[in-house]
Symmetry: D2
Subunit: 141 residues, 4 copies
């Protein structure tokens, strides 16, 4: 139990460090705003680069933001864990200039699989998307 | 019926044009390699920018590539259509330098909802991910 | 607004009546325990009939229970609405004799699509499954 | 490799035997029509019992049929495997008297997770639903 806590604290510290030099985080300008046991909050500002042929924010960018929160939250509990499945529901569009926040909570973290939920909101607290995912621990004991 | 065909041809031409100046396509270096009635093929080269804290390609990038093929294929049949749901299964990892191809086929294109499937492979034809999505036509008659 | 409220109240009353003579509800012994605006609670007792070749409760039965809560909650707001997509995450197994409860809340009910979430727990409040689904209104105005 | 083949043949034989006395199969009148390495075909006749308050076939029954093919196909390769996630897209309605067929193919069967796809058609070959799922092997080596 104490060992378990220590390991989680180590994961959290290690992930926080990694996040500062993570190529994709810097490329997509995603910021790890919070990280704790089974929880991560990641923010992103919607720029012109993220607009698609409809003239609205590309869904893939919303999914990338959700996935980033998912990756950090899952790996805080079991490192290394990789995504097996990820599913996103688009509720409302995001507009240029929006500041989006993705919050992920791990609902179940098992020996063989984990399950997490993500909520994405904009700067006004409006729900933009909900996402869910399954993770697989790589080193199982 | 002839009208239907004309409308699809118009959509395809218009989308091809848009793709050349689409901000997200140029930002993520995704290329629309093929577009026809209910089908799209999009390619992307995996660069260092797309690596995550595990030192492997970020899942969100794979989803973005799949979503791009999905958006073009769906909108070739019914324009404008937006994604309501998107789900991805990660089968194998993508490595730096990989040239990924996403192919999307619309399985059902209804008045109220569409359903599509996407296959992502690498330059050796290896299956990297499978994805599925639901689209909603915005202007329903 | 008042009309909207009236319509929802009518839907709720009509669905409650229907539920008493619904073939699948009686066949699977699912009971509509609560129904209000955008919310439904359905219960089911796990019997020997629902066991599979592993000797545990068949996943399809868990999904059927979740789907029933989903159908009632969605249709309370917009009738008739049909499911376009349904996704279930299995968290813990259900055992013979368990009394399961599925609660569904509609997260978004739009003109063209709805999105709902379902939680299934057992008699001890243990989380058994989480599910999400997309509905399509059949008569759009 | 020979061992692997032997194990799969053993799984297939054992599952075929189980299917004859499986409570849920007999309760829902699902029949295992074919079972081979990573593939299963299950059939079901739609009866009055399966109708819902809309007067159409309950989606949960379609999911149960899909799940049954999924369970057999997955367990033919790795036994015991359990479902972690299952997702269904409803393409067309099923009517009373329809004879539905669910075919499941395992796309990936890994040490830590499996991924499968299911197609449900009616007696005329019309596509009724598509489903996908993730399985987790219980005894990992």
């Amino acid at each position: 139990m104490a060992d378990e806590k220590d390991k989680i604290n180590d994961n959290v510290s290690w992930l926080r460090e990694q996040s500062e030099a993570e190529p994709i985080a810097s490329f997509l300008k995603m910021e790890l705003a919070e990280l704790s046991e089974g929880y991560a909050k990641v923010t992103m500002k919607i720029t012109e680069d993220y607009q698609n042929f409809h003239g609205v924010t590309f869904g893939g960018i919303i999914m990338a933001l959700a996935d980033q929160a998912f990756a950090y939250a899952s790996n805080s509990l079991v490192y290394p864990s990789v995504a097996s499945h990820f599913s996103t529901y688009f509720i409302a569009g995001a507009r240029m200039g929006d500041e989006l926040t993705a919050e992920c909570r791990v609902i179940k973290s098992g020996k063989r699989a984990g399950f997490s939920e993500v909520t994405i909101t904009n700067q006004e607290g409006r729900l933009i998307a909900r996402a869910t995912g399954v993770t697989i621990p790589l080193n199982q004991q």
